[in-house]
């Protein structure tokens, strides 16, 4: 457990995390590894865990008829894969695929949700961290929708 706690404490996403929270989160965590091309999860599946990337790169994408898989974001070391675990219906709305050998910490979502319900300070801390990621991704999505590099750019 000691090893996992340390990895979580040092992961960029959890910078400044309270020691007690770190222990609680570690209780829901395990090490995972994905080979290049392997999926972390698929669209439509239950969002029962999320991932802190330690090494490697992950592509988020949606498969569109006639276009194949369209990637809209790649994530790397120090970033988080999966935000749908926090809010119902706890379901992935895209695919996540390892682009290269990827090592990550998987956090069991049911386990962490229960701890967040039991300790709202932990829940609020999680909300603030995930909200920051959501806002950043929302802004990025807006720029992508505006298609700023188009000929009107």
């Amino acid at each position: 457990m000691e090893g996992l706690e340390q990895v979580i404490r040092e992961h960029a996403f959890f910078a400044g995390l309270d020691e007690g929270f770190c222990t609680l989160i570690s209780g829901c965590a395990r090490n995972v590894r994905f080979e290049a091309g392997q999926y972390l999860f698929h669209e439509g599946e239950p969002a029962d865990q999320f991932y802190l990337i330690r090494h490697g790169r992950v592509s988020l994408g949606i498969t569109a008829p006639g276009r194949g898989a369209v990637s809209f974001q790649t994530l790397g070391e120090g970033e988080i894969v999966g935000v749908s675990w926090l809010i119902p219906p706890y379901r992935w709305s895209y695919d996540a695929k390892a682009l290269e050998l990827t090592r990550a910490i998987a956090i069991d979502a049911t386990c962490l949700r229960q701890k967040c319900e039991a300790d709202h300070h932990l829940g609020y801390d999680m909300m603030k961290r995930f909200m920051a990621v959501l806002i950043q991704r929302l802004q990025a999505t807006r720029l992508q929708i505006l298609d700023v590099y188009g000929s009107h750019g």
Binding site: S59, L60, G61, R67, G68, A69, V70, S71, F72, Q73, T74, G76, G78, L99, Q139, A140, L143, Q144, L146, D147, V148, Y149, G150, S151, H152, G153
Partner: protein, 277 residues
């Protein structure tokens, strides 16, 4: 000093080569006439005339060390640029220039240099990259962060691949969306800024791209610790005369053609956020 008639009268140059860069984007090599050497500084632009159609400001995108070859990268968006982009070897082009303020390449000596380019914005930054790489030892880290729409719209692709093999420049390319065969980054270029290796206290940033992208890039550079005095951007708003007569490119108190197109961010304070100006 040249009088108004001189600066408004174009010289004739001829297209020597034409290369396709991406859908709607072409690079033209021009020859400025026998033995003419053409000196320009990275960031400057020429006014190119497509005869019978009109004139447009187009940045120099080639190597400033190659004085006789004038390189321009053009996206066909309207009448002038579409005509220019269709010209082939031997065709004449009207040429006035070079005009405008340059990237602060000299000032950047001894600093890390972070180049943030979006889409066609890489074109006016390429001459700066040539200069930085030609005198590489004068600079600290050199970082190029380039964002564009999709993998097939990456400009100067072969050159980027060659530069990537050098160990003395960090290059990250990201696209807004990609198919399954793309192994690189996907996402907005601003995402690359927090992860880039440079010392914000000793860095100069050169930014060019669509205005919205530049606004977000400036915000991300500030978040990374850069001051506005260290951030330079090129404003490519429309212009007509290029010699501050007509006022077409006036942007608040500044004329882009006379005072820019390269501006230090603190000198544009507030103007970028204004909607209509």
């Amino acid at each position: 000093m040249a009088d108004a008639a001189d600066v408004m009268a174009p010289k004739i140059a001829y297209v020597r080569r034409r290369r396709r860069e991406a859908a709607q984007v072409w690079t033209l090599d021009l020859e400025a006439g026998e033995g003419d050497r053409f000196a320009f500084a990275p960031g400057q632009f020429n006014m190119l005339t497509a005869f019978g159609v009109g004139e447009a400001a187009i940045s120099l995108s080639g190597d400033p060390a190659e004085g006789s070859r004038l390189v321009h990268t053009i996206r066909a968006v309207g009448p002038v640029s579409s005509k220019l982009a269709r010209l082939g070897p031997g065709d004449p082009v009207g040429l006035r220039g070079p005009f405008g303020a340059a990237w602060p390449i000299e000032e950047a000596a001894g600093h890390d240099v972070v180049i943030v380019a979006g889409g066609l914005g890489l074109a006016p930054l390429r001459p700066a990259l040539y200069r930085l790489l030609a005198e590489r030892s004068r600079y600290g880290q050199v970082v190029l962060l380039y964002g564009t729409r999709s993998p097939d719209e990456i400009l100067f692709r072969r050159e980027i691949e060659t530069w990537r093999r050098r160990l003395d420049i960090d290059i990250e390319v990201t696209v807004d969306h990609a198919g399954a065969d793309w192994r690189g980054h996907v996402g907005v270029v601003t995402n690359l800024i927090p992860r880039a290796a440079f010392d914000p206290l000793h860095a100069i940033a050169l930014v060019c791209g669509p205005e919205i992208m530049m606004r977000f890039a400036i915000a991300a550079l500030r978040d990374a610790g850069l001051g506005d005095e260290g951030i330079h951007l090129s404003m490519e708003r429309n212009m007509k005369c290029a010699v501050s007569f007509c006022g077409h490119c006036q942007f608040g108190p500044v004329f882009i053609c006379r005072d820019g197109p390269v501006f230090r961010c603190d000198r544009l304070r507030g103007l970028l956020a204004l909607k209509e100006i």
